[in-house]
Protein backbone atom coordinates (compact mmCIF):
# COMPACT_ATOMS: atom_id res chain seq x y z
CA UNK A 1 0.00 0.00 0.00
CA UNK A 2 1.44 3.37 -1.07
CA UNK A 3 0.11 6.91 -0.79
CA UNK A 4 0.53 9.92 -3.02
CA UNK A 5 0.97 13.52 -1.83
CA UNK A 6 -2.69 14.00 -2.61
CA UNK A 7 -3.69 10.95 -0.55
CA UNK A 8 -1.86 12.45 2.44
CA UNK A 9 -3.78 15.71 1.97
CA UNK A 10 -7.04 13.72 1.82
CA UNK A 11 -6.11 11.91 5.08
CA UNK A 12 -5.45 15.21 6.84
CA UNK A 13 -8.69 16.65 5.49
CA UNK A 14 -10.69 13.65 6.77
CA UNK A 15 -8.87 13.56 10.13
CA UNK A 16 -9.40 17.22 10.89
CA UNK A 17 -12.74 17.44 9.11
CA UNK A 18 -11.61 20.39 7.05
CA UNK A 19 -12.62 21.04 3.45
CA UNK A 20 -9.88 19.63 1.21
CA UNK A 21 -9.77 22.92 -0.70
CA UNK A 22 -8.39 24.57 2.42
CA UNK A 23 -5.43 22.16 2.66
CA UNK A 24 -2.35 21.98 0.48
CA UNK A 25 1.23 20.75 0.60
CA UNK A 26 2.22 23.77 2.74
CA UNK A 27 -0.37 23.11 5.44
CA UNK A 28 0.92 22.45 8.94
CA UNK A 29 -0.02 22.77 12.60
CA UNK A 30 1.00 26.43 12.31
CA UNK A 31 -1.75 27.37 9.87
CA UNK A 32 -4.51 24.88 10.85
CA UNK A 33 -6.08 25.48 14.25
CA UNK A 34 -7.49 21.95 14.58
CA UNK A 35 -4.00 20.45 14.09
CA UNK A 36 -3.22 20.16 17.81
CA UNK A 37 -2.07 17.08 19.70
CA UNK A 38 -5.44 15.34 19.35
CA UNK A 39 -5.74 16.48 15.76
CA UNK A 40 -2.34 14.95 15.05
CA UNK A 41 -3.45 11.64 16.57
CA UNK A 42 -6.48 11.75 14.28
CA UNK A 43 -4.18 12.32 11.29
CA UNK A 44 -2.02 9.36 12.30
CA UNK A 45 -5.12 7.20 12.68
CA UNK A 46 -6.29 8.13 9.17
CA UNK A 47 -2.82 7.45 7.73
CA UNK A 48 -2.73 4.13 9.57
CA UNK A 49 -6.06 3.11 8.04
CA UNK A 50 -4.85 4.02 4.54
CA UNK A 51 -1.51 2.28 5.06
CA UNK A 52 -3.10 -0.84 6.58
CA UNK A 53 -1.49 -0.51 10.00
CA UNK A 54 1.93 0.73 8.90
CA UNK A 55 1.70 4.36 10.10
CA UNK A 56 1.62 3.54 13.81
CA UNK A 57 4.88 1.66 13.37
CA UNK A 58 6.67 4.82 12.19
CA UNK A 59 7.75 6.75 15.29
CA UNK A 60 9.00 9.65 13.13
CA UNK A 61 5.40 10.47 12.19
CA UNK A 62 4.79 11.59 15.77
CA UNK A 63 7.06 14.58 15.05
CA UNK A 64 5.80 15.25 11.52
CA UNK A 65 3.69 18.35 12.08
CA UNK A 66 3.21 19.37 8.44
CA UNK A 67 2.09 17.72 5.23
CA UNK A 68 5.61 18.13 3.84
CA UNK A 69 7.12 16.37 6.86
CA UNK A 70 4.60 13.52 6.66
CA UNK A 71 5.39 13.08 2.97
CA UNK A 72 9.11 13.08 3.79
CA UNK A 73 8.72 10.35 6.44
CA UNK A 74 6.58 8.20 4.16
CA UNK A 75 9.07 8.66 1.34
CA UNK A 76 11.98 7.59 3.54
CA UNK A 77 10.08 4.40 4.40
CA UNK A 78 9.17 3.77 0.75
CA UNK A 79 5.46 4.23 1.41
CA UNK A 80 5.00 7.05 -1.09
CA UNK A 81 3.96 6.54 -4.70
Amino acid sequence: MYLSDNDVIKCVSRALEINIKKININSSYKNIEKWDSLGHLNILTELDKSLKGKAFKLGALAKAYSIKEIVKVLKSHKLLK
Binding site: E17, K34, S37, L41, L44, T45, F56, L61
Partner: protein, 311 residues
Protein backbone atom coordinates in the same frame (compact mmCIF):
# COMPACT_ATOMS: atom_id res chain seq x y z
CA UNK B 1 9.38 -15.79 49.58
CA UNK B 2 7.67 -12.52 50.43
CA UNK B 3 4.40 -11.48 48.91
CA UNK B 4 2.17 -8.52 49.67
CA UNK B 5 -1.56 -7.97 49.71
CA UNK B 6 -3.62 -4.95 48.71
CA UNK B 7 -6.56 -4.25 51.04
CA UNK B 8 -9.17 -1.60 51.76
CA UNK B 9 -9.06 0.02 48.34
CA UNK B 10 -10.95 3.32 48.22
CA UNK B 11 -11.03 6.42 46.11
CA UNK B 12 -12.31 9.97 45.93
CA UNK B 13 -12.88 11.82 42.68
CA UNK B 14 -12.93 15.58 42.24
CA UNK B 15 -16.41 16.87 43.11
CA UNK B 16 -17.19 18.48 39.75
CA UNK B 17 -18.52 15.89 37.29
CA UNK B 18 -18.41 17.21 33.74
CA UNK B 19 -19.95 15.44 30.75
CA UNK B 20 -18.54 15.71 27.23
CA UNK B 21 -21.91 17.12 26.21
CA UNK B 22 -21.51 20.05 28.55
CA UNK B 23 -17.90 20.54 27.36
CA UNK B 24 -19.22 20.57 23.78
CA UNK B 25 -21.62 23.38 24.64
CA UNK B 26 -18.83 25.35 26.30
CA UNK B 27 -16.35 24.81 23.45
CA UNK B 28 -18.43 24.41 20.26
CA UNK B 29 -15.39 24.68 17.96
CA UNK B 30 -13.61 21.73 19.60
CA UNK B 31 -15.40 19.03 17.66
CA UNK B 32 -15.73 16.96 20.80
CA UNK B 33 -17.78 14.23 19.13
CA UNK B 34 -14.70 13.27 17.15
CA UNK B 35 -12.50 13.68 20.24
CA UNK B 36 -14.78 11.35 22.21
CA UNK B 37 -14.53 8.69 19.52
CA UNK B 38 -10.77 8.68 20.14
CA UNK B 39 -10.69 9.00 23.92
CA UNK B 40 -13.84 7.00 24.69
CA UNK B 41 -14.31 9.29 27.68
CA UNK B 42 -17.85 10.41 28.56
CA UNK B 43 -17.20 12.15 31.87
CA UNK B 44 -14.32 13.89 33.55
CA UNK B 45 -14.02 14.95 37.19
CA UNK B 46 -12.49 18.24 38.25
CA UNK B 47 -11.56 19.29 41.74
CA UNK B 48 -13.38 22.33 43.06
CA UNK B 49 -11.53 25.47 44.16
CA UNK B 50 -11.50 24.16 47.74
CA UNK B 51 -10.19 20.72 46.84
CA UNK B 52 -6.49 20.01 46.47
CA UNK B 53 -4.23 16.95 46.47
CA UNK B 54 -4.14 16.76 50.26
CA UNK B 55 -7.90 17.13 50.70
CA UNK B 56 -8.68 14.43 48.12
CA UNK B 57 -5.98 12.20 49.65
CA UNK B 58 -7.46 12.58 53.14
CA UNK B 59 -11.01 11.92 51.95
CA UNK B 60 -9.92 8.70 50.26
CA UNK B 61 -7.63 7.61 53.13
CA UNK B 62 -10.40 8.06 55.68
CA UNK B 63 -12.51 5.56 53.72
CA UNK B 64 -9.57 3.13 53.63
CA UNK B 65 -9.01 3.47 57.38
CA UNK B 66 -12.68 2.90 58.24
CA UNK B 67 -12.00 -0.82 58.59
CA UNK B 68 -8.34 -0.72 59.56
CA UNK B 69 -6.73 0.19 62.86
CA UNK B 70 -4.69 3.29 62.07
CA UNK B 71 -2.29 2.47 64.94
CA UNK B 72 -0.98 -0.39 62.80
CA UNK B 73 0.15 1.89 59.95
CA UNK B 74 3.93 2.28 59.98
CA UNK B 75 4.51 3.72 56.52
CA UNK B 76 2.79 6.33 54.34
CA UNK B 77 3.58 6.70 50.66
CA UNK B 78 1.90 9.40 48.58
CA UNK B 79 2.24 9.42 44.80
CA UNK B 80 1.62 12.94 43.52
CA UNK B 81 2.91 15.58 41.11
CA UNK B 82 0.43 18.35 41.75
CA UNK B 83 0.58 19.00 45.49
CA UNK B 84 -0.46 22.52 46.47
CA UNK B 85 2.97 23.12 48.02
CA UNK B 86 6.27 21.74 46.77
CA UNK B 87 7.29 21.22 50.37
CA UNK B 88 6.73 19.64 52.83
CA UNK B 89 5.83 16.25 51.43
CA UNK B 90 2.12 15.44 51.31
CA UNK B 91 2.87 12.15 53.12
CA UNK B 92 4.06 14.06 56.21
CA UNK B 93 0.92 16.21 56.17
CA UNK B 94 -1.22 13.06 55.87
CA UNK B 95 0.52 11.64 58.97
CA UNK B 96 -0.50 14.68 60.96
CA UNK B 97 -4.01 15.20 59.58
CA UNK B 98 -4.96 11.55 60.12
CA UNK B 99 -3.30 11.37 63.53
CA UNK B 100 -1.08 8.47 62.53
CA UNK B 101 1.98 7.23 64.46
CA UNK B 102 4.97 9.49 64.52
CA UNK B 103 7.35 6.52 64.42
CA UNK B 104 6.55 6.11 60.79
CA UNK B 105 8.15 6.18 57.33
CA UNK B 106 6.53 8.84 55.16
CA UNK B 107 7.53 10.12 51.77
CA UNK B 108 6.17 11.23 48.40
CA UNK B 109 6.90 9.76 44.99
CA UNK B 110 6.97 12.24 42.12
CA UNK B 111 5.48 10.12 39.35
CA UNK B 112 2.28 10.18 37.32
CA UNK B 113 0.60 7.31 35.53
CA UNK B 114 3.31 4.74 36.37
CA UNK B 115 3.30 5.85 40.04
CA UNK B 116 1.03 3.20 41.58
CA UNK B 117 3.07 0.31 40.18
CA UNK B 118 6.34 2.03 41.15
CA UNK B 119 5.00 2.51 44.68
CA UNK B 120 4.07 -1.18 44.93
CA UNK B 121 7.63 -2.08 43.93
CA UNK B 122 9.15 0.22 46.52
CA UNK B 123 6.77 -0.91 49.28
CA UNK B 124 7.42 -4.55 48.38
CA UNK B 125 11.10 -3.88 48.93
CA UNK B 126 10.45 -2.13 52.28
CA UNK B 127 8.33 -5.11 53.39
CA UNK B 128 11.02 -7.58 52.36
CA UNK B 129 13.57 -5.69 54.44
CA UNK B 130 11.25 -5.56 57.46
CA UNK B 131 11.25 -1.77 57.43
CA UNK B 132 7.46 -1.70 57.70
CA UNK B 133 4.45 -3.99 57.96
CA UNK B 134 1.40 -1.95 56.91
CA UNK B 135 1.70 0.87 54.41
CA UNK B 136 -0.97 3.42 53.63
CA UNK B 137 -0.48 4.01 49.91
CA UNK B 138 -2.21 7.07 48.47
CA UNK B 139 -2.18 8.35 44.90
CA UNK B 140 -3.59 11.84 44.50
CA UNK B 141 -3.46 14.36 41.69
CA UNK B 142 -5.29 17.43 40.46
CA UNK B 143 -3.95 17.78 36.91
CA UNK B 144 -6.99 19.80 35.83
CA UNK B 145 -5.82 22.74 37.94
CA UNK B 146 -2.80 22.96 35.59
CA UNK B 147 -4.62 22.70 32.27
CA UNK B 148 -5.01 25.83 30.18
CA UNK B 149 -8.63 26.55 29.28
CA UNK B 150 -7.81 26.30 25.57
CA UNK B 151 -5.93 22.99 25.76
CA UNK B 152 -8.40 20.64 24.06
CA UNK B 153 -6.15 17.56 24.34
CA UNK B 154 -5.59 17.67 28.10
CA UNK B 155 -8.94 19.16 29.07
CA UNK B 156 -10.86 16.32 27.43
CA UNK B 157 -8.81 13.52 29.01
CA UNK B 158 -7.60 14.22 32.55
CA UNK B 159 -9.64 13.89 35.75
CA UNK B 160 -8.77 14.74 39.34
CA UNK B 161 -8.88 12.10 42.02
CA UNK B 162 -7.22 10.21 44.82
CA UNK B 163 -7.04 6.53 45.68
CA UNK B 164 -5.80 4.71 48.76
CA UNK B 165 -5.16 1.23 50.08
CA UNK B 166 -3.21 -0.72 52.67
CA UNK B 167 -0.25 -2.79 51.50
CA UNK B 168 0.78 -5.49 53.96
CA UNK B 169 3.07 -8.48 54.05
CA UNK B 170 1.39 -11.74 53.14
CA UNK B 171 3.31 -14.54 54.86
CA UNK B 172 0.87 -17.20 53.73
CA UNK B 173 1.54 -16.74 50.03
CA UNK B 174 4.17 -18.69 48.09
CA UNK B 175 3.99 -16.27 45.16
CA UNK B 176 6.74 -13.83 44.30
CA UNK B 177 5.49 -10.62 42.69
CA UNK B 178 7.59 -9.49 39.75
CA UNK B 179 8.33 -5.95 38.62
CA UNK B 180 9.68 -4.27 35.52
CA UNK B 181 10.52 -0.57 35.28
CA UNK B 182 11.39 1.72 32.36
CA UNK B 183 12.41 5.39 32.14
CA UNK B 184 13.20 7.60 29.15
CA UNK B 185 13.75 11.23 30.11
CA UNK B 186 14.38 12.18 26.46
CA UNK B 187 10.58 12.22 26.22
CA UNK B 188 10.21 14.41 29.30
CA UNK B 189 9.16 17.32 27.10
CA UNK B 190 6.24 15.29 25.71
CA UNK B 191 4.23 15.54 28.93
CA UNK B 192 5.42 18.49 30.91
CA UNK B 193 4.35 21.32 33.17
CA UNK B 194 5.59 24.61 31.69
CA UNK B 195 4.83 28.04 33.11
CA UNK B 196 2.09 26.58 35.29
CA UNK B 197 0.36 24.58 32.55
CA UNK B 198 0.51 20.93 31.51
CA UNK B 199 1.34 20.30 27.86
CA UNK B 200 1.09 16.89 26.25
CA UNK B 201 2.33 15.70 22.90
CA UNK B 202 -0.25 12.95 22.46
CA UNK B 203 1.34 11.20 19.47
CA UNK B 204 4.78 10.93 21.15
CA UNK B 205 3.26 9.55 24.37
CA UNK B 206 1.18 7.17 22.26
CA UNK B 207 4.24 5.87 20.40
CA UNK B 208 6.15 5.51 23.68
CA UNK B 209 3.32 3.52 25.23
CA UNK B 210 2.57 1.24 22.32
CA UNK B 211 6.28 0.45 21.91
CA UNK B 212 7.31 0.16 25.56
CA UNK B 213 4.41 -1.56 27.31
CA UNK B 214 4.44 -4.68 25.08
CA UNK B 215 8.19 -5.06 25.72
CA UNK B 216 7.74 -4.77 29.50
CA UNK B 217 4.80 -7.14 29.29
CA UNK B 218 6.77 -9.84 27.46
CA UNK B 219 9.79 -9.38 29.76
CA UNK B 220 7.72 -9.88 32.87
CA UNK B 221 6.10 -13.04 31.49
CA UNK B 222 9.57 -14.43 30.80
CA UNK B 223 10.88 -13.37 34.21
CA UNK B 224 7.89 -14.82 36.06
CA UNK B 225 7.65 -17.95 33.92
CA UNK B 226 3.91 -17.29 33.62
CA UNK B 227 2.03 -17.90 30.37
CA UNK B 228 -0.20 -15.16 29.01
CA UNK B 229 -3.18 -17.56 29.05
CA UNK B 230 -2.75 -17.94 32.81
CA UNK B 231 -3.22 -14.23 33.51
CA UNK B 232 -6.74 -13.62 34.77
CA UNK B 233 -6.90 -9.84 34.56
CA UNK B 234 -5.10 -7.10 32.64
CA UNK B 235 -5.30 -3.80 34.50
CA UNK B 236 -3.66 -1.01 32.54
CA UNK B 237 -3.44 2.70 33.24
CA UNK B 238 -6.69 4.17 31.90
CA UNK B 239 -5.09 6.55 29.41
CA UNK B 240 -7.79 6.54 26.71
CA UNK B 241 -9.68 4.24 24.36
CA UNK B 242 -7.16 4.78 21.57
CA UNK B 243 -4.21 3.63 23.70
CA UNK B 244 -5.95 0.72 25.43
CA UNK B 245 -7.52 -0.63 22.23
CA UNK B 246 -4.11 -0.59 20.58
CA UNK B 247 -2.42 -2.36 23.52
CA UNK B 248 -5.18 -4.99 23.61
CA UNK B 249 -4.69 -5.48 19.89
CA UNK B 250 -0.88 -5.75 20.04
CA UNK B 251 -0.90 -8.07 23.04
CA UNK B 252 -3.94 -10.04 21.83
CA UNK B 253 -5.72 -9.68 25.16
CA UNK B 254 -9.13 -11.38 25.36
CA UNK B 255 -11.90 -8.80 25.77
CA UNK B 256 -13.21 -10.34 29.01
CA UNK B 257 -9.81 -10.00 30.68
CA UNK B 258 -9.05 -6.41 29.63
CA UNK B 259 -10.79 -4.09 32.07
CA UNK B 260 -11.57 -0.42 31.56
CA UNK B 261 -13.44 2.41 33.24
CA UNK B 262 -12.01 5.44 31.39
CA UNK B 263 -15.40 6.07 29.80
CA UNK B 264 -16.99 6.93 33.15
CA UNK B 265 -14.03 8.45 35.01
CA UNK B 266 -11.47 9.76 32.54
CA UNK B 267 -7.72 9.55 33.10
CA UNK B 268 -6.94 9.98 36.81
CA UNK B 269 -3.17 9.49 36.26
CA UNK B 270 -1.61 7.50 39.15
CA UNK B 271 -5.02 6.64 40.61
CA UNK B 272 -6.44 5.02 37.50
CA UNK B 273 -5.15 1.50 38.28
CA UNK B 274 -6.17 1.42 41.98
CA UNK B 275 -9.59 2.93 41.17
CA UNK B 276 -10.18 0.22 38.57
CA UNK B 277 -8.99 -2.47 41.02
CA UNK B 278 -11.36 -1.05 43.64
CA UNK B 279 -14.32 -1.17 41.24
CA UNK B 280 -13.53 -4.71 40.08
CA UNK B 281 -13.20 -5.90 43.67
CA UNK B 282 -16.56 -4.32 44.56
CA UNK B 283 -18.15 -6.11 41.60
CA UNK B 284 -16.53 -9.40 42.73
CA UNK B 285 -14.73 -9.65 39.41
CA UNK B 286 -11.30 -10.28 40.92
CA UNK B 287 -10.97 -13.23 43.21
CA UNK B 288 -8.42 -14.65 45.60
CA UNK B 289 -5.38 -16.31 43.99
CA UNK B 290 -6.05 -14.85 40.56
CA UNK B 291 -3.05 -13.61 38.61
CA UNK B 292 -3.18 -9.95 37.64
CA UNK B 293 -0.88 -7.84 35.50
CA UNK B 294 -0.74 -4.12 36.29
CA UNK B 295 0.85 -1.63 33.92
CA UNK B 296 1.29 2.12 34.31
CA UNK B 297 2.84 4.43 31.70
CA UNK B 298 3.11 8.10 30.91
CA UNK B 299 4.81 11.24 32.21
CA UNK B 300 8.58 10.91 32.59
CA UNK B 301 8.41 9.25 30.23
CA UNK B 302 8.09 6.36 32.59
CA UNK B 303 6.50 2.92 32.68
CA UNK B 304 6.18 0.09 35.17
CA UNK B 305 4.58 -3.32 35.00
CA UNK B 306 4.06 -5.93 37.69
CA UNK B 307 2.60 -9.37 38.01
CA UNK B 308 0.79 -10.04 41.28
CA UNK B 309 -1.44 -12.65 42.83
CA UNK B 310 -4.62 -11.29 44.38
CA UNK B 311 -4.80 -12.16 48.05
Amino acid sequence: MIDFKIDNLSYQLGSLKISYNSLSKKFPSWDLKKVQQKTGIKFIYQSSENEDVLILALKSAKKTLKNFNKKNIDCIVVVTQTAKNKLPSTACLVQDKLGLNKNIISFDINLGCSGFVYALGIINSLLKNNLCTNTLLICSDTYTKFIHKNNRTCKSVFSDGASSCIISKNNKSNFTPNFNFYSDGSGGKDLIEKNGFIEMNGPEVYFFTTNTVPKLFNNILKKSKVKKENIDHFIFHQASKLVLDKLANILKIPENKMHTNYDQIGNTTSSSIPILLCELEKMNKIKKNQIIILSGFGVGLSAATCLIKWN
